[in-house]
Amino acid sequence: MRRLLLGAIIPASFLIIWEASSRTGLLTLESLSRPSDFVVAGYGALRDGSLLLATLQTCETALLGLAIAAVIGITAGTILGLLPTAERVAGPTVEALRPIPAIAFMPLALMMFGFGVGLEASIVAYACVWPILIVTIAAVRAVETRLFEVAAMLELPLWKRMTKILLPAAFARINVGLRIAAAISLVVAVTVEIVLNPRGLGYHLILAEQSLQIGLMWAQIVWLCLLGYVLNLVLSHLGRGPAAVWKPV
């Protein structure tokens, strides 16, 4: 209880002072808006569905990019993890590409895909593939050699060796990489929308600012905070829950 009260002091007093000073005329800056305005604006955007539509657009693109990154990252990571020589050969190329900020590829992706889902999903995929790739390599390396010996003794074909032995053993770790990538995917998707892509939450945010609907802008920022917060909760729950353990059927 004490923790809850203490934690509420800063945001509550901040909002109250903001609202009060704006009502009493101490603050006259148009660009500041006031907390009650953005509650009204946020309610309006929720009711007419525009906020939810934008959220859906952002989330589906982020998920698509994440899925592409997961397929590429886990496949390549498994190969490189099983073949240390291949990893050392490909290593420098990976290390040269990895530090380039994904956002820097935006102009290139724009030329290739034009505005839309492809542009955004490809940037998200580029940003997300590295954590997944690196974690998968480490995860595959960490699988006990004894398990491979079991597979060899059972004379399992390659496909079954992958699905019955390797992936179940490595999945708990790969899951960590996927969770990191999931958090990145939302951030990158919103960033692409803010800078370039005319769709989704980021675009509506920058549009609200440019058309001086300041209340709406603040409402969307709070909405984004909530969205990220919920995503983090879900991800950390997935990390602890039964979903962290792969159940081969």
Partner: protein, 255 residues
């Protein structure tokens, strides 16, 4: 020297080079569009020309400066806040919920707010960079200050250290490995946000160079900009690793 000419290292170099050669051949044969993928040679020629006539140095300096100033700001605030939250329960209860709520906000979502207050200026860019780059160093230093080994706490009590001495002489050095690791992540974030703000607000820099190269279909220039950015990221990362080694050398001496 023997390690350098290890067959595997040669193969690594060879595979990277052969990718470039394949790209070059495809571009020469006009099998891939020169608008999207100009041949690597053309990109290198442009890079060399623009480095020679000096037109790339200014954007490079502008981007680096933005990145470093924003990162320094984030580091100072992050370490101070982290020390407070990590070493005092009161500060943690007071600040943690607010920070936990703001933290998941994508840093780029602060751009519209920053533009409203600061306009399309360097101050705006640095603010956004600082906002985004603060989280890794903040979380790392909270962790560092919260996990000072109990032997060290006992020592400082035995020596009768006050709170300030404890933080400065015991807790800070003990948290330093965590902090430096956080600083490294923060610097990478700072570079990304420098590029993002340049693209969004037309501030001179490498991000803007890449953006305007695309708009005018000078794709060789685009690649030249990308190469410079990759070098900057690589260099920044290695400088901070050098710093890490320097600052934490005393720890290696102990073991």
């Amino acid at each position: 020297m023997r390690r350098l000419f290890d067959p595997i290292n040669l193969a690594a170099l060879g595979s990277a080079l052969s990718l470039l050669v394949i790209w070059q051949l495809l571009a020469d044969a006009h099998l891939i569009s020169p608008i999207f993928f100009p041949s690597p040679l053309r990109a290198l020629v442009v890079l060399q020309r623009r480095l020679a006539d000096g037109s790339l140095w200014l954007p490079l300096a502008a981007t680096s400066l933005r990145m470093v100033v924003g990162w320094l700001l984030a580091s100072v605030v992050g370490i101070v806040l982290g020390a407070a939250i990590g070493s005092s329960r009161f500060a943690r209860d007071l600040l943690d919920p607010t920070l936990e709520f703001i933290r998941p906000l994508p840093a780029s979502a602060v751009i519209p707010v920053a533009i409203l207050f600061l306009g399309l200026s360097n101050a705006m860019s640095v603010t956004v960079i600082a906002f985004g780059a603060i989280w890794p160093v903040l979380l790392a230093s909270v962790h560092g200050f919260a996990t000072v080994p109990s032997e060290l706490t006992n020592v400082s009590q035995a020596l009768g250290f006050g709170r300030r001495d404890f933080l400065r002489k015991i807790a800070f050095p003990s948290a330093l490995p965590d902090i430096v690791a956080g600083l490294r992540v923060s610097l990478a974030v700072a570079l990304i946000l420098a590029v993002v703000t340049e693209m969004q607000s037309s501030l001179p820099g490498l991000g803007w160079e890449i953006f305007s190269a695309q708009r005018t279909y000078r794709s060789a220039d685009l690649y030249a900009g990308l190469i410079m950015l990759a070098l900057l990221g690589f260099l920044a990362n290695h400088l901070i690793m050098l710093l890490e080694w320097r600052v934490l050398r005393w720890r290696n001496l102990l073991t």
